[in-house]
Symmetry: C2
Subunit: 499 residues, 2 copies
């Protein structure tokens, strides 16, 4: 195969893969948003057929030949070479999975989500258990096929964040836990920060208006980023950077829950919509890893939106939208309220200090499930015990316990550590960013363009061109060090709680 | 190829086609409902790739061999043979269209819809004109390729309703017009029926509640039929009878507009969701033609929902949802209000008597556009002249004129006559149905099951197993005769207006 033929094959391949992935993503999005309950079986069937097409295209012998030609040829440009390498990585994994196993796996994730939904609604873990057992069994089988010599959980950690394994997670979590636990103990000895202003009656249409204001403020382009509501907020890319959807979940009694969801998902959407447009239609047109993705969302949600500057910029808008509810409060009250530390049940609504403890619960459980120490049937008990141990609280029901997240049902196993890592990456971005950008001033003014420019230039525009480590290290100029994160948390909560 | 091999090929083919059509339909639905403006280009690209896949599968030489084997083999059962025949019909047409022309055609329809949307919003026909010229040119080219010896407009009429051509349309419209025009003249001499009760302030959330009540009343299963809002109401099937979506458009000042849209689209959805489940995953799992489809929707919208019995059944629900607005009125007032005859601008909101005149305008224009008598650029003028001639009214702007319908933008050319034919089919169903079913009693009781059972048994369950003519004639026991329709209109409006 000549280089020209290989390039032509690559281009045709990516055109078709992009379309099939677009359709698959839209089926997923529709399943979460508009679809009726009875549509799940047909959706699973179609996803299964589309995944077969993806499998056939990827494992076609001509594809392997074209990708190897491109990867090996000295005249291949670096951007094309990276595309070939990423596709080869997928191809090598897919080749090891029999076609039936692969399509059954994709299909199972669609079916499991529908069961999870119903189980959460009914607070019925036994309903979810059989399909969750299948999900973990399938993940074990896939890991055994793709990386027979590796620990299966390590395989899935690396799948979500290139280079991640349990050893690295253990070191990271141990460093973070060593700081958070004593800091939390100190905080809990103080009087809680007042947060009454977040609670009250906040009509959904007004919260919806707030969502759109927030999306504008953080710099999202409404021509390319849509908003919907779902049980569990998420972000999804449909085909290309030109069509990204975020979702939120409104709670009438607390506007801040949806607010932080919108900002979190908005961070993902900023990354996804700001990849170099030249990469559209290729595998480079997406964030490079879950850890780098979550580092954007968690950065916007916490490091930016839970800062004093952001609260100052936002407060007048809250006054405008909720004049009665905000009466008698000011921006500093908002800053205190959104930073109240309180061990709680729901991860997505956790404060910044206890958040990583929620992740550590899930990490520990995934480890135990993969090692065989824990059976799926014993998950609720183990979940509740760890919440007691790590967060000191009792879980009243599975709805607010082991059934709260959609991740396992959707096949995002080994994903949770990305949230904690991403949170930590963000503190290191902030440290570097503040060398050249007055972050708090930009937030106060409600003009986030200097912040977005920094991130676009160093991270977003590259899409998947470089490895996660390359992107991270070139952005901050040094290797990852969790100390920036623990220092950040210590500084912030020492100030807030006058420790 | 053996019969078994042919059957296996047919089954695999339909499995893949169903999935690709499911994905394509969902892209269309999403484009109308949730997608941001900037998503149109990516959607067009993906639809284009998926249509290429459909083209490749359909025109594959093995497909032709399998379909011919099944069609010719004496041991093929009638249900399989019909599948083979329908697929052969598509195959024969597709084979005549070059691949590039076919995918460009599918892509153009996605792009044209986005332009139409913007043009309608801005009341800007010149913006729409170039793409509409392309749409008509493409339809002329496709007709010339697929049926070089036929009149191109006849080709598209037959495409939407097997066996339909201009000669049949002309006879039908002439019979209907000959009755409607004098009847309308008599009606217009009388005092208009009062319809003030339809006008006022009707909050959207309450109208939404009404939509769901109506969907239940007419017998739709909420597990399989969803509701969304769009600029132009429509019904779409996503993959199978298990996932059908209808849409409506709410007007705060008149609840009846959305109400009749919901019932109209609900009629389509009843047909689509009540096909024999055994046909799922095959080409038989859909309505057989546009005329039979519109005969369901128009039957529910008009013959049922604009009858006195239905108004009696519905009125207590309206009183419950809109107590203030309904105060001082009764069910008979509702019956009069929804049957007020008034030549008007918007087809979808037209009364039952003038409706066919709206269709005749469009039919005449399509004829002239295909014959070359009329250029796309002169459409607005021609549209307005025909509205003056047929309906006696002046069109104030293109938004409420030539830009009102999405059909041409979406490639539904030669479709409009189906609405008029469908309306007429319905009157003949009613005549036959009343031999065994007390229709008005069922409507009054709000229990439509005897009506739905009749339609399910005679029409819905067959899906596409028989030709439109076979379905129609076996349902009513004789050939189509527009006299049932004109008699029905005459009887109804003579009574209402005491002519």
């Amino acid at each position: 195969m000549t280089l020209d033929q290989a390039n032509a094959h690559l281009s045709a391949l990516q055109r078709r893969l992009t379309a099939l992935q677009h359709a698959t993503a839209l089926l997923t999005f529709d399943g979460y948003t508009a679809a009726s309950k009875g549509a799940a079986a047909g959706r699973a069937q179609t996803v299964s057929v589309l995944s077969e097409e993806i499998y056939s295209l990827t494992t076609d012998p001509h594809t392997a030949e074209a990708l190897h030609t491109l990867n090996d040829h000295p005249r291949t440009d670096p951007i094309t070479r990276r595309q070939a390498q990423l596709l080869l990585r997928t191809l090598r994994q897919m080749e090891r999975i029999p076609r039936e196993e692969y399509t059954a796996f994709r299909r199972l994730m669609v079916e499991a989500d529908a069961v999870w939904h119903e189980a959460k609604e009914k607070d019925d873990f036994p309903l979810f258990r059989p399909v969750l057992e299948q999900v973990f069994a399938a993940h074990r089988r896939i890991a055994a096929l793709c990386a027979p010599d590796a620990d299966p959980y390590d395989y899935w950690l690396d799948y979500n964040e290139e280079g991640l394994d349990q050893a690295r997670c253990d070191r990271f979590f141990s460093a973070v836990r060593g700081k958070i636990v004593p800091l939390l103990a100190q905080v809990m000895e103080r009087a809680p920060l007042p947060d009454a202003m977040l609670h009250g009656e906040f009509p959904i249409p007004v919260q919806d208006a707030l969502s759109h204001r927030l999306m504008r403020i953080i710099g999202l382009d409404p021509a390319h980023v849509g908003l919907a509501t779902t049980e569990h907020p998420f972000t999804i890319t449909l085909g290309s950077q030109q069509d990204v959807r975020i979702t939120t979940h409104y709670h009438r009694d607390d506007f801040s829950k949806s607010m932080f969801s919108v900002i979190h998902e908005g961070g993902h959407a900023l990354y996804s919509t700001n990849v170099d447009p030249a990469y559209m239609g290729t595998v480079l047109d997406k964030g490079v890893s879950m850890g780098i993705h979550e580092s954007q969302s968690r950065f916007f949600e916490n490091i930016l939106a839970r800062s004093e500057g952001f609260c100052q910029g936002l407060f007048p808008i809250l006054q405008e939208l909720f004049p009665d509810q905000m009466a008698g409060y000011d921006a500093h009250d908002l800053y205190l309220a959104v930073n109240r530390v309180q061990p709680s049940l729901i991860r997505t609504q956790a404060d910044e200090l206890t958040y990583c403890l929620h992740i550590m619960v899930r990490y520990r459980l995934e480890q135990q499930l993969f090692s065989g120490e824990l059976a799926v049937g014993d998950l609720p008990e183990a979940w509740n015990a760890l919440y007691r141990e790590y967060l000191g609280i009792d879980v009243p029901d599975d709805r607010r316990g082991v059934l709260q997240d959609c991740h396992w049902a959707d096949g995002y196993i080994g994903y949770f550590p990305s949230y904690a890592l991403g949170s930590a990456y963000g503190a290191q971005y902030l440290h570097k960013m503040e060398e050249t950008v007055d972050v708090q001033d930009a937030l106060r003014r409600g003009d986030l363009s200097p912040i977005c420019d920094w991130l676009r230039q160093r991270i977003w525009r590259h899409g998947s061109l470089y490895s996660p480590t390359q992107v991270f290290e070139s952005a901050v100029g040094e290797p990852f060090d969790p100390k920036y994160y623990t220092d950040y948390l210590e500084r912030k909560f020492t100030g807030l709680y006058r420790l």
